[in-house]
Subunit: 236 residues, 6 copies
Amino acid sequence: MSGVIVTDPPKADAKDVEALAGYGVATVHEAMGRTGLLGPHLRPIQQGVRVAGTAVTVLSWPGDNLMIHAAVEQCGEGDLLVVTTTSPSTDGMFGELFATALKQRGVRGLVIDAGIRDTAELRDMDFPAWSAAVSAQGTVKATGGSVNVPVVIGGQVIRPGDVILADDDGVVVVPRQKAREAAEASRKREDKEAATRAAFLQGQLGLDRYGLREKLAQLGVTYQPYEEYAADGDRS
Amino acid sequence: MSGVIVTDPPKADAKDVEALAGYGVATVHEAMGRTGLLGPHLRPIQQGVRVAGTAVTVLSWPGDNLMIHAAVEQCGEGDLLVVTTTSPSTDGMFGELFATALKQRGVRGLVIDAGIRDTAELRDMDFPAWSAAVSAQGTVKATGGSVNVPVVIGGQVIRPGDVILADDDGVVVVPRQKAREAAEASRKREDKEAATRAAFLQGQLGLDRYGLREKLAQLGVTYQPYEEYAADGDRS
Amino acid sequence: MSGVIVTDPPKADAKDVEALAGYGVATVHEAMGRTGLLGPHLRPIQQGVRVAGTAVTVLSWPGDNLMIHAAVEQCGEGDLLVVTTTSPSTDGMFGELFATALKQRGVRGLVIDAGIRDTAELRDMDFPAWSAAVSAQGTVKATGGSVNVPVVIGGQVIRPGDVILADDDGVVVVPRQKAREAAEASRKREDKEAATRAAFLQGQLGLDRYGLREKLAQLGVTYQPYEEYAADGDRS
Amino acid sequence: MSGVIVTDPPKADAKDVEALAGYGVATVHEAMGRTGLLGPHLRPIQQGVRVAGTAVTVLSWPGDNLMIHAAVEQCGEGDLLVVTTTSPSTDGMFGELFATALKQRGVRGLVIDAGIRDTAELRDMDFPAWSAAVSAQGTVKATGGSVNVPVVIGGQVIRPGDVILADDDGVVVVPRQKAREAAEASRKREDKEAATRAAFLQGQLGLDRYGLREKLAQLGVTYQPYEEYAADGDRS
Amino acid sequence: MSGVIVTDPPKADAKDVEALAGYGVATVHEAMGRTGLLGPHLRPIQQGVRVAGTAVTVLSWPGDNLMIHAAVEQCGEGDLLVVTTTSPSTDGMFGELFATALKQRGVRGLVIDAGIRDTAELRDMDFPAWSAAVSAQGTVKATGGSVNVPVVIGGQVIRPGDVILADDDGVVVVPRQKAREAAEASRKREDKEAATRAAFLQGQLGLDRYGLREKLAQLGVTYQPYEEYAADGDRS
Amino acid sequence: MSGVIVTDPPKADAKDVEALAGYGVATVHEAMGRTGLLGPHLRPIQQGVRVAGTAVTVLSWPGDNLMIHAAVEQCGEGDLLVVTTTSPSTDGMFGELFATALKQRGVRGLVIDAGIRDTAELRDMDFPAWSAAVSAQGTVKATGGSVNVPVVIGGQVIRPGDVILADDDGVVVVPRQKAREAAEASRKREDKEAATRAAFLQGQLGLDRYGLREKLAQLGVTYQPYEEYAADGDRS
């Protein structure tokens, strides 16, 4: 597979990235109309860490980490490396040496739709990572691929320079051009959630707050006391 | 899908629930003749927590959390919310706002055969949860379902008012009418295990304690020194 | 299924086992030419633990732990129990009582290609374990199997007396006769990695250190500025 | 595991079973309000066969077919054998000899949430089967279980005497007491579908037939010509 | 979820579609540099059918087929319907009535990254389909989505008007603007394969035809007679 | 990964291979004491074909079919190609051109623990295959591997020259040195099965034929009339 290494793509504004880092993945995903989530198969190797950065993307052959080496050079301050493979793989393509090189360049973390290794070392050096698998399986450097081209993970297109936000709930991509709008929408959503939280703490029900009682009635959902329900001869 | 919200089902006796909370999931499952386990796909989002409560059950459409809102109103002190969907889903149907509302009502935790989100926040607020997935994916409120009807998770039927016990090993359901009997049997099993533990610590073997040497012989299992075995020309 | 319990197999030299315990799973796997890894489906129940021991192997019927009882007697100081089943199973075949008996005999841990239970207790007693599932599901003692015969996990053959090394990245098997050689190769690899780490910390790139720029060129991978790439009318 | 073999359970009326056999699985599932489906993991070993019968249920230990032998005696004319295991298993618990014995007794087929073997022979002898796996893996006869107790497959409870209907789309269970009602509802649904089919053949749209244009508008779904959509600068 | 129904997108040239229909999925995927394949999870419900058409795309909520109704109106002669959901689902969203309506409009088939039902009927009416699951599970019409927006299946972006080619090996997408080029490249590849086939039939080896003997040597792959290899004391 | 191509390994006697070809996979697996099965994940691409041959084994890097080219030269009359990868892969490593070359050399079929493509063409040319996936995804020729070394599929070790037997139920390996013994045992088992079949056709029960009534009693399995069971207040 021949490929291309795209240099100097435009990146989301650092201020917008910082703003987005103030919100959780679920909040930003909701604020963008429930889009951008990379799927539940990507899990963090650490707990309690939230990070945001601009994507440097890598498309690799399975079992081959040559293109990650090429990508390191394209990475700089505030970036977050995003790696996927041309077909499914659990091999441990990324470990502590890569993390050392990336950290030295100011890279904030890794999202990889394949395997990762040296997980204890990565935790020790505070290099956060989200991966589809943990595996010590090593890889070769034999086949070409691409850097900074659009890639797809979990049904979402990620372009170089897009914002990647990751926490314990998973990973969300915010398109570069929508970073400001998404940050703004997230702030609004969080304000709304704060009000809802306060109301819930005082005992209000979602049924009432969101006007759902009517909806239940329209949908034909009925209330029935247990005795009546049980007497109906329902076989349950 | 129309549905029904069953109100005021009978619940297991609080004293029996407390008694069961004193034992691990594995112990209670064994004490009930190896029944009631909800399967290894349900994993805790926290570590080292054991909780027991009476089930409030929810049957939802995939990608839709309307019925969880309806269920909140049916929940009270000592309950534990149990949610499943009519077809498989990993969507994050439950998060911090629901947990806030439930905690305020005295609910002890969540078991959900689907996705959960805001996991860091749930851990921070000590609201324990067991789920089939972690996902920030949001849901709609568009389709009816049922509350407090019998539901099935991992091949086990759960009825409202049944006891749910969960810990790091998974989740077990104890039918309401068998709660006392199960607590009693668990106590006996634990006593027996304590005696076995003591014996093992003094070097006794399970082979002898359980009379298994005879069984091995009956089954035709034989002992063979390594040299003899290797010389047999076995290709291993 | 009749079977055989092989007694007193030769074991890897304790000194070699200790030497291997000084390296991570990924390092040893690489040092052996990327072989021996038991696959990403085996996950630790604890974090931050590395252990090495000599394998006592068990081949069991699914849902049946009779042969683990037989294996306990064959275990001693410095061993590590390795269990698999004749067909896939997630049942919790191993728990705290077994761990108690094994720890009393100096056994260092467990690797099981099936389920495990009492995970909180195992963590409390510092008995490390790697398993394919966590499940409280209990088992019977009804069908024969074998102890200390070659078994296969994740495509790797494990013979009694082989070295098993496990950490957060997974589990690797080192054939008994290659233990010394593997330890030696691991030491060399670690020296090389230390040099690379130092170079990376000073900003050297893998592209240069490993001579990969040439390889990329040979493979037809080209560099292209973003503006040019975007202007190409590529639909991305 | 001790167990119980329940004899002479009541069965659905043969006339209702025949009536249900006239409809497809999808039709009956819809007619019952979208309930009763045993899930997409059960696949037929043949193509183009539809069969209905009254359930004789078996709960077996994984890797053990003892209870199927016990069940054969409980089977008779018009029955359909339904087998599940206490924990997940792909072992080939059922083959041509069982099919020979069952066919001789008038049994109509098999639904098994585990493995099956001798599939070529079963097709040759016109004994239809739906299974979770095809596997030649053999089993033992060592552990007890139950016959004609309620079992759960794919989240559905199946009781002895219930109607099982299976075709290329999967398997549905109709509770014994609802067999007549389900047949009646299926007939009505099929009539309705025939009318819809005729309308569709004449070019009517579901949008109009089901009044969905309004619903789309209410949900905020809008129509946009491609040029306008593309010009919006949407990054797609 | 609000959404948009995009009308009258540009489509690949019919002549190019016909040209592509003359090649297999594997050939076209190779001719495009090993890109465009939708992944092995999409399987045909029939055997021996190859079809090509222009994509009409649908993005639906899981468990909801409202947007397929909206899509029917956008479909015409030579199209092929492509459906995916916002989160994973196996529900049977598509059946015989939809196929009737689509066939009446000249639509050539269906690719759906979810479930399908009425598979026997679809085969009978020669409406080919590729799906991620077969399931009779019914769906609602409650939540909005989009038609003719870019969708992602198996890591590939599909835009309305792109060419979809499907056969027993799976499904490949050819971007609209590359249809001619892909057809041309496929023809060349097929010519080359014909020459290779002829050479292979006369006994030539791929090792020689592709010059791989040298490559093996460069990679350090060596030849060894069995006796020598076995005598090496390799434990295999 | 450097590797080795082992030439001229000893092969199972052709007469024994022919003898084994007369029995089904399930029969041979049983006759060998329920061993040798390669697991239910390997499925045939055709129906109703049984084939036996001597294994030529290939160990490949994922996404790379270089070593299959090397293996072709090692294949001859009566062989069956067995391919696996160093880590899991679904890529379509094998297609019609390989089949053409192999058929020309008298090779009987393929077993591959990865993907296959050109399935329609393979069926047309009567080249039978069993694979873990069907996928058109193409591969490179960049990384070394081995031919005719022991490989592992589904937990079974396969050595060059071993007998591979495959049919609709799956694939079984018979070690070279045990081929005669396995054929003999299969014949005996088939004779026994014929007698059982005859007995079953005359109405004898397995319960009686295998003396299982006693076993059920020993295991504590009891018989209970439905009315009594239902009256027990069991919640089912």
